[in-house]
C-alpha cells in the first residue's frame, strides 16, 4: 500500500523524540498501532471514492457510447448469439444474468439496469448495495460476450469485484451528504444516531427488502449458479445477510458492541481490498513492463512505432506518422514506457518519485486514448492510477469541483445553487460511512470507530490516512 504519505508524518514524529526510551516505547507499540489503524479506520477514503467514481463513470460512459451497438454486442441475437454464449458459460460458469432468459425485453432491462446502477454507484447512493448492483451489471454484460472486450473491460471487471469489499462511499457521495444532513438536523447529542436511525433510512431498508426478494426469486427459479462454498449463491446471499446484520445491530442491539465489531470487520475488509486494488494495479504495470523487456522491438527501440501503424489503432494516421517521424523520439518513448512500467511498483516507497511517475503514467494514458483510439481503456487505467494519488491533491480536486459547481450554479440561478451546495464533493469531508447498509449513519460509524479503538483519533491526519474525526 502507498503508505508513503503516512511515512512523512511518522518521520516528523520520530525526529521529535530522539531519546532511546521513547524510541523503544515506540517500537514496542508499533505492531499495536498498525493493528489499531487497520481495524479502526477505513484508510484512503478519498482514494477509494475517486476509483469508485472513476470506474463507475468509465463504465457508464462506455455503456452510453455503445448504446446504439448494444444489440450487436450483448443482445440475444447478436453475432455472439445466446446459443453460443450458453455453450461457453456452461463450460466456464461465468456469472451473467443475461443468460437467465433469451428475450429481448430481458436484455433491454439488464442493459438499463447496468446504466442506472453505474449512475447510482458513481453518485454514492447507498454505496454498499449499489456496489453489488454495479458488479452484477458489469459481469452480466461482459461475461455475456467475452470476445467483445479489451484490457479496459478487464480492468473494470476486476475492480468491480474488489470495490464491493471497500467502504468507498465515505466521501464524495450521497451517503456522506445524507449522513451530514442528518447529523446537522439531529444536533450534537450522543445518541442522535440511534434515535434517528430507524426513521430516516427507509430507502435503505426498502432497497434491502427488494433486493432480498429478487434474489429469492432468482434462487427459487434455480438461476443462480453455485452451491454452498464459494458459489455465487453464497456470495450474493452472504452480502445480503451482512447488510441485514449491520442494520439489525444498529437497530436492535442493546449495546454498541455488535456494531463496533461489525465496523472493525468492515474496516479490515476495506483495507485489505484497497491493498488488493493497489497490488492489482502494480501487477498490471509489472506484467506489461517485464514482458516487454523480453521483446526484440522493445529492445531495439522501435516498438512504439508499430501500434501507431496498425489500422485498428490509428484513428489519426497523420498524427501517428508525425509522432513516429523521429527514430530518436520513438526510442525514447519506447524505453521510457518500459522503464516507467517496470519501475512503477517500486516507486511507491518514495512519495515524491511516485507522484512524478504517476503524473507521467496518467499523461501517457491520456495520449493513448486519443492516438491509439482507446478512450475507455485509457480512462479505466487512469481510474486505476488514481488510487495512488495523494490525499492532499484529491482534496484540492474536490475543492475545485465544488467551486466549479457552485460557480456554475450561481450562473444558473439561485435554485440550482441550493442544490449544488448540498451535493457531494464538499471540501469539508463528513464522517466516515459507506459500510454495510442499510440503516447506518456516518455518525454512528464514526462513534463506533472512536470507541472501538481509542487512540487512533490522536494520530495526525496526514496524507493517506486523512479520515477526519467527526466534528463533535
Amino acid at each position: 500500500m502507498t503508505d508513503t504519505d503516512h511515512h512523512s508524518a511518522a518521520d516528523g514524529v520520530r525526529a521529535g523524540a530522539p531519546d532511546r526510551l521513547g524510541r523503544l516505547d515506540r517500537a514496542d507499540r508499533r505492531p499495536a498501532r498498525i493493528v489499531a489503524r487497520l481495524t479502526g479506520q477505513a484508510l484512503g477514503p478519498y482514494q477509494s471514492a475517486v476509483i469508485r467514481i472513476g470506474f463507475a463513470g468509465t463504465w457508464l460512459l462506455f455503456l452510453l457510447r455503445e448504446f446504439p451497438h448494444r444489440q450487436e454486442m450483448y443482445g440475444p441475437d447478436g453475432p455472439w448469439s445466446f446459443d453460443l454464449a450458453q455453450q461457453l458459460t456452461a463450460s466456464n460458469h461465468a456469472f451473467t444474468v443475461l443468460m437467465w432468459a433469451d428475450s429481448q425485453v430481458w436484455f433491454e432491462l439488464v442493459y438499463a439496469f447496468a446504466v442506472f446502477s453505474s449512475v447510482l454507484f458513481a453518485l454514492g447512493w447507498h454505496t454498499r448495495a449499489t456496489s453489488v448492483l454495479f458488479l452484477v451489471g458489469v459481469l452480466s454484460l461482459q461475461n455475456r460476450s467475452i470476445f467483445m472486450g479489451d484490457g479496459g473491460d478487464n480492468v473494470i471487471h476486476l475492480m468491480s469485484i474488489y470495490l464491493v469489499l471497500t467502504r468507498c462511499g465515505q466521501v464524495w457521495s450521497l451517503d456522506e451528504r445524507r449522513a451530514r444532513l442528518r447529523a446537522e438536523r439531529a444536533g450534537e447529542g450522543a445518541d442522535r444516531a440511534r434515535t434517528d436511525r430507524a426513521g430516516t433510512d427507509r430507502a435503505g431498508a426498502v432497497l434491502w427488502a427488494v433486493l432480498g426478494a429478487v434474489l429469492a426469486v432468482a434462487t427459487l427459479a434455480g438461476k443462480v449458479d453455485g452451491g454452498f462454498a464459494g458459489g455465487w449463491l453464497t456470495v450474493l446471499w452472504g452480502l445480503w445477510a451482512v447488510q441485514g446484520l449491520w442494520w439489525s445491530a444498529g437497530r436492535y442491539a442493546r449495546s454498541d458492541q455488535p456494531r463496533i465489531l461489525l465496523d472493525v470487520v468492515a474496516n479490515v475488509v476495506h483495507n485489505a481490498a484497497l491493498f488488493v486494488i493497489m497490488a492489482e494495479a502494480c501487477l498490471i504495470y509489472a506484467t506489461a513492463g517485464w514482458y516487454k523487456i523480453q521483446g526484440s522491438r522493445w529492445q531495439d527501440g522501435t516498438a512504439v512505432y508499430y501500434p501507431l501503424h496498425l489500422d485498428y489503432f490509428s484513428p489519426w494516421p497523420a498524427l501517428s506518422g508525425l509522432l513516429s517521424a523521429s527514430g530518436v523520439m520513438v526510442m525514447l518513448v519506447t524505453y521510457g514506457t518500459v522503464i516507467a512500467q517496470v519501475a512503477f511498483p517500486f516507486t511507491l516507497f518514495n512519495r515524491r518519485v511516485k507522484n512524478v511517475l504517476l503524473a507521467g503514467m496518467m499523461t501517457e494514458h491520456a495520449v493513448i486514448a486519443l492516438v491509439l483510439g482507446l478512450p475507455f481503456f485509457s480512462l479505466a487505467m487512469i481510474a486505476a492510477d488514481a488510487v495512488f494519488l495523494p490525499t492532499s491533491f484529491l482534496r484540492r480536486l474536490g475543492g475545485w469541483a465544488t467551486r466549479a459547481r457552485e460557480g456554475l450554479a450561481r450562473a444558473c440561478g439561485r435554485l440550482s445553487s441550493r442544490v449544488a451546495r448540498t451535493r457531494l464533493g464538499r471540501a469539508l469531508p463528513g464522517p466516515r460511512e459507506g459500510a454495510p447498509r442499510p440503516a447506518e449513519t456516518a455518525a454512528e460509524a464514526g462513534t463506533a470507530a472512536g470507541t472501538g479503538t481509542a487512540g487512533t483519533a490522536e494520530e495526525p491526519h496526514v496524507g493517506f490516512t486523512a479520515v477526519p474525526t467527526p466534528s463533535p
Binding site: V35, T39, R65, E66, H69, E72, M73, D77, G78, P79, S81, D83, L84, Q87, N92, H93, A94, L139, F147, M148, G149, D150, G151, N154, L158, I161, V264, V265, V268, V269, A272, V276, L283, I284, T287, A288, Y291, K292, G295, S296, W298, T302, A303, V304, Y305, Y306, P307, H309, L310, D311, Y312, S314, P315, W316, A325, G327, V330, G373, L374, P375
Partner: protein
C-alpha cells in the same frame, strides 16, 4: 480476524501473480489449483503490446455466394471488412468495440482454436467458427452484398496479412507481399443469420435456399 483477512488477500494476490507470471516451477505443479481460483472471474492478461507489438495488419475479407430474388446464383467480390472497420475508426474519438474488437478478436479466437489446416480443436474451435460466420453474414448484409433482398447462401473468409512497413529511419527490410490464409466455403444456415439478416420472404427463400 485481521490475520484471516490478510491471509485471504495475500493468497488471492499470490494466485493472481502466478496467473500472470510466466510458466514456472510452481505453476507447473499447481496449475490446476491456480486456474480454479482465477477462472472465470479473475482472468486477466496484461501483456499489452508485449513481448512484441503486433507488426502486421491483418485484414479479414469475405465473399459470398448469393441467390438473387429472381433465383440466379452468383459470387460476390471480396469485401474487406477490416478495412471497413479501419475507415470507421479513422478520425473517431470514440471508436466502438464493434469496430475495434469484434472482428479482430473473432479472428484471433478462430486462429487460436484452429490448426493450420483450419480444423477446429474441440468446442471452442466450433464456437469460434460459428461466431465468425455470424459476424461476416451480418457485415455482408450491411454491405448489401448481392443487391437488395439477395440471400447469402455460402461464405468464404480469408485473412490477408501484410507487414507494417519498417520506419523510414530504419534500414530494416521486410517483405511487403501479403500472406493469404483462405478458409473453405461455409454454407450459411438459418442459425448463422444474426438479427435483421434473415431473408425477408422467409418461407419462399428458405425453401429454395435449402
Amino acid at each position: 480476524m485481521l490475520a484471516l483477512v490478510a491471509l485471504a488477500a495475500c493468497v488471492h494476490l499470490g494466485m493472481v501473480f502466478l496467473h500472470v507470471a510466466p510458466s514456472n516451477t510452481v505453476t507447473k505443479q499447481h496449475g490446476r489449483a491456480i486456474d480454479e481460483w482465477i477462472y472465470p472471474e479473475f482472468e486477466q492478461n496484461w501483456k499489452l503490446f508485449a513481448p512484441n507489438p503486433l507488426q502486421q495488419n491483418i485484414a479479414v475479407q469475405v465473399r459470398a455466394e448469393v441467390k438473387a430474388t429472381d433465383g440466379t446464383v452468383g459470387t460476390t467480390q471480396w469485401y474487406d471488412l477490416s478495412a471497413a472497420d479501419g475507415r470507421a475508426i479513422d478520425g473517431n474519438l470514440l471508436p466502438s468495440h464493434t469496430q475495434q474488437n469484434e472482428l479482430r478478436r473473432a479472428w484471433d479466437f478462430f486462429v487460436a482454436t484452429h490448426d493450420t489446416t483450419n480444423r477446429p480443436n474441440g468446442l471452442r474451435g466450433d464456437l469460434s467458427e460459428r461466431y465468425l460466420r455470424r459476424i461476416v453474414v451480418l457485415r455482408l448484409d450491411r454491405e448489401g452484398a448481392g443487391g437488395p433482398d439477395a440471400v447469402v447462401q455460402q461464405v468464404q473468409v480469408r485473412a490477408r496479412t501484410t507487414n507494417v512497413p519498417p520506419p523510414r529511419w530504419s534500414e530494416e527490410q521486410v517483405s511487403d507481399k501479403p500472406v493469404l490464409r483462405q478458409l473453405p466455403w461455409w454454407p450459411v444456415a438459418e442459425k448463422d443469420r444474426a438479427a435483421g439478416t434473415r431473408p425477408v420472404d422467409r418461407t419462399g427463400t428458405m425453401a429454395s435456399g435449402r
